[in-house]
Amino acid sequence: MKSGIQHAKSKFQIPNSTKRMVSTLCCFVLLALPGSCTHGKEKIYKKSRIMMDTVITISVVSHSEDHAERAINSAFSEIKRLEALFDFYSPDSEVSRINKHAGISRVKVSQDMLAVMVKASFVSDKTGGAFDVTAGSLLVLYDFSHGIKPRPYAIEKRLPLVNYKAVHIDRKDAGVFLEKAGMLIDLGGIVKGYAADRAVETLKREGILSGLVAVAGDIRAFGLKPDGKPWKIGIKNPRAEGKDDILATLDLKDMAISTSGDYERFFIIEGERYHHLLSPATGYPVRTCQSVSIIAGEGVLADAFATGVFIIGPEKGITLIEKMGFDGLIIDREGAVHVTSNIREKIELEKNFTRHNGS
């Protein structure tokens, strides 16, 4: 028996070189199979959900569909959590608790609320009060779904309640107090950008290296797409017929972009457009711009400055954006495009749009 085996061995000896070749080939097969099944090439995985009364779309780059889905779901859960804090119309939200205690007492708030309130107060300071969360008491006077504007005396009565300096933020103890009874804060001009920031943080924590979070028009991008290019963003044409009609495109790399426009919530009475971007000083919509887009490092700042700069107007607005070290694009009431000098070469305007002379 023993000799038989030895005999067989010697007779059917495979040359070493062949052995090596076969084993190398087998290795390739073994390596290639699991690799292709679980770690396919990088792809963009995209998911949309309705939250915060808007459409939120999250895209991530991943080798694995499972990983992408896990990360996207965590980011949506994070936004869901924030939605419960910042919902103006929900009586149980943190923002409603602050409003209910206006003129009465200080309200203990979450770290997220504190962070948003601190940023809001910073933007109010920098915009000279053009961005003001206390304009909430004016905004509720306009009925956008039925197209009803308030009577002038109703606006006048509420103007004294609009003042960001009457919001007291206790940073050490995480507390917020509105000085006067009847004051209402509305964080609609800042929380979508904040939500985009938090969602991006969540995706990064889940191990995602490249992604795009779009909370309606408040967008934050990080990393590059599988083809090595940055994420490409379109800026909506403010007077478009179709909802996806864009007037310019630009690349966004590890930055946030937000747009405020007079077309988001509005009605028209006797040729006058009543939209949701109100002057905290007069209580009426400001009509010097059609839309303002801001590019900044943080979504929360891009969002709030887009609102504030809209109210400031095109010329002073561009100056402020540049002073803050941001970039931006403003469409004025005539439809002319103003851009900051940094991005003048980087932005691709669609035809039919003319650049404003001088900026």
């Binding site: 067989a8 059917f12 000896q13 495979i14 040359p15 062949t18 070749m21 076969v22 080939l25 087998c26 390739f28 097969v29 290639a32 199979l33 292709s36 099944c37 396919g40 792809k43 963009i44 995985y45 995209k46 998911k47 949309s48 959900r49 309705i50 939250m51 009364d53 808007t54 459409v55 779309t57 895209s59 569909e65 992408a68 949506f76 795009l212 779009a214 309606a216 028009g217 408040d218 967008i219 991008a221 797409k225 994420w231 490409k232 963003i233 379109g234 800026i235 909506k236 909802k243 996806d244 864009i246 495109t249 972009i257 937000s258 747009t259 426009g261 988001e264 887009s293």
Partner: protein
Amino acid sequence: MRKILRGTTGADKVLISVLILVSLSGIVFIQEVMPKARNVLIEVDGHPLYVLPMGRDGIVEVEGPRGKTIVELKQEKVRVKDSPCPAKQCVKQGWAEHGVIVCLPNKVVITIGNDGDDVDTVVDAITR
């Protein structure tokens, strides 16, 4: 097994290995190169209700907070046929082959073929 091995030469073994390699690589090739079947996912308020194959024609109704949204699939295209929302933007969007159809008031999201190959769009997102 030993008997079979005894009847083979070194060259046979190489041949067998190559044949195995070729057939296995076929599996890899098909998975990588052949397009996956595209599905249509219909969700209401974040809850998936239907996953439908793109190739089959038909009509489904989903119940949202405002009532019934009627979705039609036909010849590899999808549309919202009718919706209880006031502006009916989802209906106006018409037939879609890629991307997403959303009805905000009725909280319906229809995602078409989310297989990571959504490359034929000009921009990745629109700021508005």
